[in-house]
């Protein structure tokens, strides 16, 4: 029974990992940019929510979440159109990479200086601690909400990309960024929208992390490698992959920790390393 509980908790943790990976995968899939600052945007949204909650304690959590997501959406749009788009004109893929790592260091260090490096949480009253019992397994409400949201967002994103005309434009831009211009599409604007969505998705991950556990300015960078693993395992450019990758890593981490308590992320890394050697193009075959 204890093992089943571990697996279930692993799946719930995997929901969070999937959420973290999805934004990164979206950006990489559409513009071939590895965004090193994604983790910091996650933490930034959490700090934003903490500040708003402190200023207006009576606000409903959903409104606070909404504000934080909207804020992150705008940040993402500006980040892409003012900064990342400019460096993407260079033919060298290292330019946007270093640029985003630079942004990540700036954001993280400013957050440390301004807010300090202490552990913080987003107290949503009883919701943060609540749990329900299913078949004698105790399941936290927040982790369950995380996984449900994660799956819902994956479905929504999938629907948007496959079924809407905006999704079609995004896929076409990912295929051929110069040819779409012949149809009146401005690639820079598409990229800005994609980055905005991606940062908003990271924000959701950050809010859930803050609400179910605690966070510091370093919470983002500490999960950057696992986010990369989620994306690569899921197959770069695939949009379903990150959820599957995230679930696999979440289960592996908790089962590994139960078996070998001071292993940290060792078994996640081992799983990743073995998988990537067996299938160098990821678990889910790439779209392109």
């Amino acid at each position: 029974m204890a093992w089943i509980e571990t697996v279930v908790n692993g799946l719930l943790l995997g929901g969070l990992y999937g959420l973290i990976g999805i934004g990164l995968a979206l950006v990489f899939g559409v513009m071939r940019v590895v965004d090193g600052a994604q983790g910091e945007f996650m933490v930034m949204a959490a700090f934003f929510a903490v500040i708003v909650l402190a200023a207006a304690p009576d606000l409903h959590p959903l409104i606070i979440f909404g504000l934080a997501i909207l804020f992150s959406f705008c940040v993402g749009y500006v980040y892409q159109s003012w900064i990342v788009n400019r460096s993407m004109q260079s033919s060298d893929p290292l330019a946007p990479l270093l640029l985003t790592f630079g942004v990540s260091i700036i954001l993280r260090s400013v957050m440390v200086e301004v807010f300090g490096a202490d552990l913080r949480g987003l107290q949503l009253g009883s919701l943060s601690r609540a749990s329900i019992a299913i078949f004698n397994i105790n399941i936290g409400v927040m982790p369950l909400l995380t996984l449900a949201t994660s799956i819902a967002l994956f479905l929504l994103l999938q629907w948007m990309l496959k079924r809407t005309s905006f999704g079609r434009i995004i896929r076409a831009t990912a295929d051929r960024r110069d040819i779409v211009r012949l149809f009146g599409v401005k690639p820079d604007r598409v990229y800005a929208c994609v980055m905005a969505m991606s940062v908003a998705l990271s924000a959701i991950a950050g809010l859930f992390l803050a609400a179910r556990a605690s966070f510091t300015p370093f919470s983002g960078v500490e999960r950057l490698l696992i986010a990369f693993e989620v994306v690569v395992l899921g197959g770069i450019g695939s949009f379903w992959g990150p959820l599957i990758g995230g679930l696999a890593l979440g289960v592996t981490q908790l089962v590994g920790l139960k078996w070998d308590p001071n292993a940290g992320l060792l078994y996640c890394h081992l799983l990743f390393f073995i998988m990537i050697l067996i299938r160098p193009s990821g678990l889910v075959a790439s779209r392109s």
């Binding site: 896929r171 295929d175 051929r176 110069d178 779409v180 211009r181 012949l182 149809f183 009146g184 401005k186």
Partner: protein, 232 residues
């Protein structure tokens, strides 16, 4: 009525100049052939006209407006569209979705999805196929249909027949007759002089980035053309 008027156009590829002081004119509803050997600068010229190459000098007037500094997006919006060389379909979009990209410009007119399917019935049949599963000729049809749905005033077609079976080329050129009937002006860029001049009203020949011959398509003299095509 002149639809497109190019005068004194120079186009650059980094430090290299590809097009020199070029003049060119396309009338309303006219079909113009632009021929030239491989490397004469035909594709560069086309990409410069639609705004995909920004490093250029000279005047380009389209439909009465100066467009030499306009963005590719605005040029397309004005009704100057292109079927690019190598077809350049969107690989992760189905045939139908590729065609629907033409609707993004929202230029309404004669050409709709239904009319493109009438023109190329095979596309209706294969509407949910991915481009990589189509034959070269079918891919070319998608590329043409995608541009037609933009309802262009002037359509630039770059190397339509390249790498296609003769029968397929026949079929596609037959479609051009129908496209011309709707009043769409056409520029047909070809290496195959015979094919292009048969379909066109007027003909330009390009040699090393310069116009080497301009003539009515019916009155081409073989020795003139040979000189203009290969250089003396």
């Amino acid at each position: 009525m002149t639809l497109l008027e190019v005068s004194g156009l120079n186009v650059f590829h980094g430090d290299l100049q590809a097009i020199f002081d070029l003049d060119l004119r396309v009338g309303e509803g006219e079909v113009v052939a632009l021929v030239g050997a491989n490397g004469a600068g035909k594709t560069t010229m086309m990409r410069a006209l639609v705004g995909l190459i920004a490093s250029k000098q000279g005047r380009i007037r389209f439909d009465g407006a100066e467009i030499s500094a306009a963005s590719a997006e605005d040029i397309a919006r004005a009704g100057l569209c292109m079927v690019p060389e190598g077809r350049m379909l969107f690989d992760s979009l189905t045939v139908l979705e590729n065609l629907m990209m033409g609707q993004v410009l929202r230029r309404r007119g004669y050409w709709t999805l239904e009319r493109v399917f009438e023109l190329f019935p095979i596309l209706a049949e294969r509407r949910s196929a991915m481009p990589r599963h189509l034959s070269g000729g079918q891919q070319q049809m998608v590329a043409i249909g995608r541009a037609l749905i933009c309802n262009p005033r002037l359509l630039l077609c770059d190397e339509i027949s390249l790498g296609l079976a003769p029968l397929m080329v026949e079929q596609i050129y037959a479609a051009f007759a129908q496209i011309g009937k709707q009043g769409t002006a056409l520029v047909l860029v070809e290496q195959d002089v015979k094919r292009a001049s048969a379909a066109a009203d007027r003909l330009y020949c390009l040699l090393k980035g310069r116009i080497s011959l301009e003539t009515a398509a019916g009155a081409v003299r073989v020795e003139d053309l040979t000189r203009a095509y290969f250089g003396a």
